[in-house]
Amino acid sequence: MDRKATLKREDGLWMLRRMRLIRQTSERIARLYPTNVMETPVHLCIGQEAVSVGLCRHLRDADKMFLGHRTHGPALAKGLPLPKLMAELYGRTTGCSHAFGGSMHLIDLEHGLPGSSAIIGGSIALGCGAALAAQLGKNDYVGVSYFGDAATNAGVFYESMNFAALRKLPVLFLCEDNGYSNVMPKSAHSAHDIVSVARQFMTTLQADGTDVLSVYEHTGEAVAQLRRGEGPVFLHCATKRWMKHQGHEACDIVDNGIDRERDCPIRKLEAFLLKSRLITPAELAQIEQAVEAEIDAAIQFAESSPFPDPSLLEVS
């Protein structure tokens, strides 16, 4: 594919901005986290930004996406306003979940995020439910189940694939495969090739999850199939987790195969945009700065927001 010929500047910029938003926000969280201002576990997405961003460029607000525990990236990509994320991490009432959810439970109905779950696997079924609602109600939104490689070990993944295939549901199974379940490598958690198994149930596609244009391209194909009513699609995105499973530290798994120069989805896109003359170096710097300012404002918002009143817990 001649990417230069097809990629529109606005799409490129949008994706760059969102990836930067996720990256810089995550880096800021990592910096702040040791100060204990955020009393909640954090599962950062540094290095994995291409997956959610390439995907979400094809999604509409009406499309409903269900997430697991690693929420920040996909939620921001889908449209969750940053101040609402930050306030939630800070445990404030202005957070997207009003301080009840924390990092793993984000919601934004306006932007098609009906919630996320910290119990691995189960939310895969919820995306199918959204797709069923679309189908029964003759609505044209799609459902997206967004999950990691290890979530496919849970039986609910297969049950969901079978049901989605039986009913030809407009649901995308988005597998963000970072090769690990905490410190357990994929070879220890899966005896099989995940894509080959999924292929027994539905159309499968594979993208390079460190390259947003690859994800963007394949998602386009996938979402088009869904909107045509031709049944579910499984999209596999191989990517890399630069951080530890949880918290603010860099991944310390030996031989994790990560080269932050080579594998960086942001560098890749920036290089492409520059080469294709879709952007200038000055614009790049400007985006980075604008995002920093946005983060400053969001933190400011969070910090100045009220804590919830304990009386909120009273059960009537």
């Binding site: 919820l126 029964l136 049901f163």
Partner: protein, 344 residues
């Protein structure tokens, strides 16, 4: 919102038709589906010719009745996802034992979703399940798990005993914007009673008094309520018989008012005894009406072990109207019963 034109009314009217418990469920589901296109039914064998023991036969909108594979856990997630997307699913299970397969979805997802997001979303999901027992079905096909589910915050648990109640409460459950677990005992299916043809709702969380009396308060739901009623009638006992109808939320006010009058409490619960619904009723009453109790409260439940299969053992395992009657009579006479048979 098509549901707003209902009135809440929980007194059984006179003069309506007599129909079966099963027909009342069917009518409620059919009316709900006709009224509101967002209502749909889903479940293993929901769409087969048996129509969930007849409770879903010949519905007006079969296109909104979806069969599923044996995948109860994912199907619960599917129903939840649909509910979060604006539909009003009724997820049906032929036996409540199968709900345990879906426990992660029920307890970690369905029940918690609203609390986790400070109730920004509605979860209008009804999980219907039939409680069965007998004919040697054994330990995995004869449970009644209302006590287990009532423990989980975020679930309403409804288990009506009469045709009138089951129709009104089913409509309330479908109308409710929070998850409702709706449990129907199979042995009630053929019972008949007065049921208005028009749609009506009954309040979730409001007990019914099945019989008025002054000597003993008996709390019992579902089949246990019917058995207790039978026992009262057979032995002409002076019993105030309360059927909470919805075990969670629990109408404690009605129970307390009765205990204040009678001074005695018996809970008959067709479920496991340890930390079950009966324990809750006894504990809640003792906390609030300790001074009113003239003698120790009592519970009558299953033995604290899995169900046996042989008919001989089954008949000994489950309480009967006779055993309930005997216990009620002894309590009214004030004699003390060995409580050690209820808890291991």
């Amino acid at each position: 919102m098509p549901w707003s034109r209902f009135d809440s009314n929980y007194e059984a009217p006179a003069g309506a038709r007599d129909i079966t418990y099963c027909a009342a469920i069917r009518e409620a589901i059919d009316q709900a589906m006709c009224l509101d296109p967002r209502v749909f039914c889903i479940g293993l064998d929901a769409d087969d010719k048996f129509g969930v023991f007849g409770s879903m036969s010949n519905l007006t909108h079969p296109e909104r009745v979806l069969g599923t594979p044996i995948s109860e856990n994912a199907m619960t997630g599917v129903a939840l996802g649909a509910a979060l997307s604006g539909m009003r699913p009724i997820h049906v299970h032929l036996r409540n034992d199968f709900l345990l397969v879906a426990m992660d979805q029920i307890a970690n997802y369905v029940a918690k979703w609203q609390d986790m997001f400070d109730h920004q979303v509605k979860v209008p999901l009804v999980i219907r399940s039939i409680i069965g027992r007998g004919w040697g079905c054994g330990a995995q096909h004869s449970q009644s798990l209302h006590g287990l589910f009532a423990q989980i915050p975020g679930l309403k648990v409804v288990m009506p005993s009469s045709p009138y109640d089951v129709k009104g409460l089913m409509l309330s459950a479908v109308k409710d914007d929070s998850p409702v677990l709706f449990l129907e005992h199979r042995w009630l299916y053929k019972n008949t009673g007065n049921v208005p043809e028009a749609m009506y709702t009954l309040p979730i969380g409001k007990a019914a008094t099945l019989r008025r009396g002054g000597s003993l308060t008996v709390v019992a739901t579902s089949l246990a309520a019917i058995h207790a009623l039978k026992a009262c009638e057979q032995q002409e006992l002076d019993v105030d018989l309360i059927d909470p109808r919805t075990i969670k939320p629990l109408d404690l006010d009605t129970i307390l008012a009765s205990v204040h009058r009678t001074g005695r409490l018996l809970v008959v619960d067709y479920d496991f005894p340890f930390a079950g619904f009966a324990s809750e009723v006894v504990a809640a009453v003792c906390e609030r009406a300790h001074e009113s109790l003239r003698q120790p409260p009592q519970r009558l439940c299953f033995p604290d072990r899995g169900m046996p299969s042989s008919g001989r053992l089954e008949r000994a395992y489950y309480p009967t109207p006779e055993r309930i009657g005997e216990l009620m009579r002894q309590m009214i006479l004030g004699s003390s019963i060995d409580a050690d048979s209820f808890v291991n």
